[in-house]
Amino acid sequence: MSLDINRKIIQKNAYRITKKRNKTAIRIRVPGGHLETKYFPIIAQIADQFGNGSVHITTRQGFEIPDIDYKYIPEINKLLSTLIVGLECSIGVSINNPEEGYPAAGTRNISACIGNRVCPFANFDTTSLALRMEKEVYPNNFHIKIAITGCPNDCIKAHLQDFGIIGMTEPQYIYDKCIGCEACINACKKFVTGALTLHNHKVKKDHRRCIGCGECILKCPTSAWIRSNKTFFRLIILGRTGKKNPRLAATFLNWATEEVVIQVIKNIYALIDKEIDKSLPKEHLGYIIDRVGFNLFKNSVLQNICLNEEIKIAQNLFFIGYQYEKDIFMEV
């Protein structure tokens, strides 16, 4: 009996057409990339019962269970409801019927580096932010990739996402606690941007060079550098891989608060809805903005937002990337 499948519907349900005829694969979202082990048995059960007993860990920190017969989709969706309720509904994501599987797959799982639950460099709890953001961006069919990273080391590769969120702290200097040991200066010079210099046996900071990584705080033996009360974020946008024009994301907002970042991202979704070329099967955000222009983009996404006073907004976006057709030196 030949299968009759509506590709559009099953794709939105987080299944995909695979290389193997008659076989599909399901992608499980793990917002923030952190999962309680109590969910492992369900993933294992789906793989054992309906797949080939193996699971792929995706680049976006989800699970993909391959080698599934299309006919099992309803049954698998029922099993998935525990995951959907536990990982999505519980953090406020609105899903009508969790027993019908994932309601959308366009906006991908929000990935996050391990963050300050483990990593000493991280400026905040990345997973928790992913959990707070999930309900703002999902379910949604627009093909958007978001990654959250704890510090400018960017271990999650936020620079290759549509939205990269980089955690920052604004180091506060307590003059009377500084012994002028230069540990911060040396670390900043060696690992970061050289924003610190020794002046009058104490430390001077060039704020324009500070990227809020917190390296100075980590190195200080007297706690003369401490974290700001607020956590700040750098929102980098429109990074991408792909076959046409891979490029690193560019900074759009610097020293933004969480509220501003989330609101801006929501506004961008609204802009996509308005400007997307509906004649195409899909259009990536980067190409939409390339088409509508940065100024229109900027004005519309900053509309009605109460910006925090520390924020710096890009005048323009400068991308570092390349176009394959320009690789003229690649010829033999």
Partner: protein, 360 residues
């Protein structure tokens, strides 16, 4: 005088005390730890019970009250010199665990008794300081005050225990002036402990044993071989990163550097500052011209080790004890997990092995 009081009474008492004294105690600073979402505990002025961190050891010792991290010792205006006034004229009480009281007494020796005369800046604040005791019974993970014979102290004017008749606070006052202040409290009957609780007896206790124990090298003369034993010290050449946290958190590290500065806005005005120095941090032993006597981290570790558990006692006498009081902050705060108590034990083992070999 001993009394068990309620938190309300405590706060009333502290309110009165604050009229006459600045009271310093360990305070938890939320989010001020080096890692995000972590706290540190350091000494600050306090007024109420709840401001004080009673349960945990402070990250930094109370020594900065008497020996500030950075202080101006002379102000220069053109060719005139001005000695900065003290920030507060009030006498001070510091609430400390016994190791820290003993620690302050160790640095007293350096600032007041070593060299030809007393240190003016240390003395003028030290004279204002009296001690109050926070009872410490079990110590903490890295403490070894008992081994260092620094677990007990009786130089306090009043002591506070939270452990006797919870939720009541037990307070013992040995100083008549403080007792008078205590008795001058006007309390509301509803907020005070009932007499049968208030007058229950208790004894302020001290740690009798720690989780960590160190063996001190019990010798009159450190064998010369241990200074040059590179096998023993070289381990720390790379393990130690010379960050200086063991020095800055130590209650007995008392070294400082003197720096002159000239203000940018007016070149005629400047100051001479005294800032903490650390024997682990580079340039500590550097002379004019750039020659550094202890360049590698292994020799700095040796230098500190002997200073803490040998040289001080040798210089100031048996009754003064070792400089190290076993507060364990060096071990608490070393980012490279170097345990100083382990070094002491290894050193003692190495020396007694030497002695045994010699005997054979």
């Amino acid at each position: 005088m001993k009394r068990n009081i309620t938190k309300n009474e405590f706060n009333l008492f502290f309110n009165l005390l604050n009229i006459h004294y600045d009271i310093f105690a360990p305070v938890r600073k939320k989010g001020q730890g080096a890692f995000s979402d972590t706290d540190i505990i350091y000494y600050e002025k306090v007024v109420t019970f709840d401001e004080i961190e009673w349960a945990e050891k402070s990250t930094y010792s109370p020594k900065d009250i008497v020996f500030p991290v950075s202080q101006t010792i002379i102000n220069f205006i053109e060719d005139r010199l001005f000695i900065p006034n003290m920030k507060s004229s009030k006498p001070i009480y510091i609430l400390m665990r016994p190791c820290d009281i003993n620690g302050i007494k160790r640095i007293d020796e350096i600032f007041l008794n070593n060299g030809p005369s007393e240190d003016f800046y240390y003395k003028r604040i030290r004279e204002k300081i009296s001690f109050a005791l926070i009872e410490c019974i079990d110590g903490f993970e890295n403490c070894f005050c008992v081994s260092m014979n620094a677990n007990k102290n009786s130089d306090w004017d009043f002591a506070i225990s939270l452990d006797k008749y919870r939720p009541f606070i037990s307070i013992e006052i040995k100083n008549a002036k403080i007792e008078n202040i205590f008795h001058s409290m006007v309390t509301d009957a509803s907020n005070i402990a009932a007499p049968e609780v208030a007058n229950k007896n208790f004894e302020i206790c001290f740690p009798e044993k720690n989780l960590k124990k160190v063996m001190l090298p019990n010798i009159n003369e450190m064998p010369a071989s241990i200074y040059s034993d590179s096998e023993f010290w070289d381990e720390y050449k790379n393990r130690c990163i010379a960050c200086g946290r063991c020095n800055t958190t130590c209650v007995t590290c008392s070294c400082f550097s003197t720096n002159d500065i000239r203000y940018d806005d007016s070149q005629n005005v400047g100051e001479r500052q005294r800032v903490w120095a650390s024997c682990h941090i580079s340039k500590f032993s550097m002379m004019a011209g750039g020659h550094e006597m202890r360049k590698d981290n292994a020799s700095r570790m040796r230098f500190k080790t002997f200073h803490k558990i040998y040289d001080y006692k040798k210089r100031f006498g048996e009754e003064k004890g070792h400089m190290c009081v076993g507060c364990g902050r060096c071990d608490d705060n070393c980012p490279e997990y170097i345990s100083f108590s382990m070094i002491i034990n290894k050193l003692s083992a190495r020396i007694s092995a030497d002695i045994n070999e010699g005997k054979k």
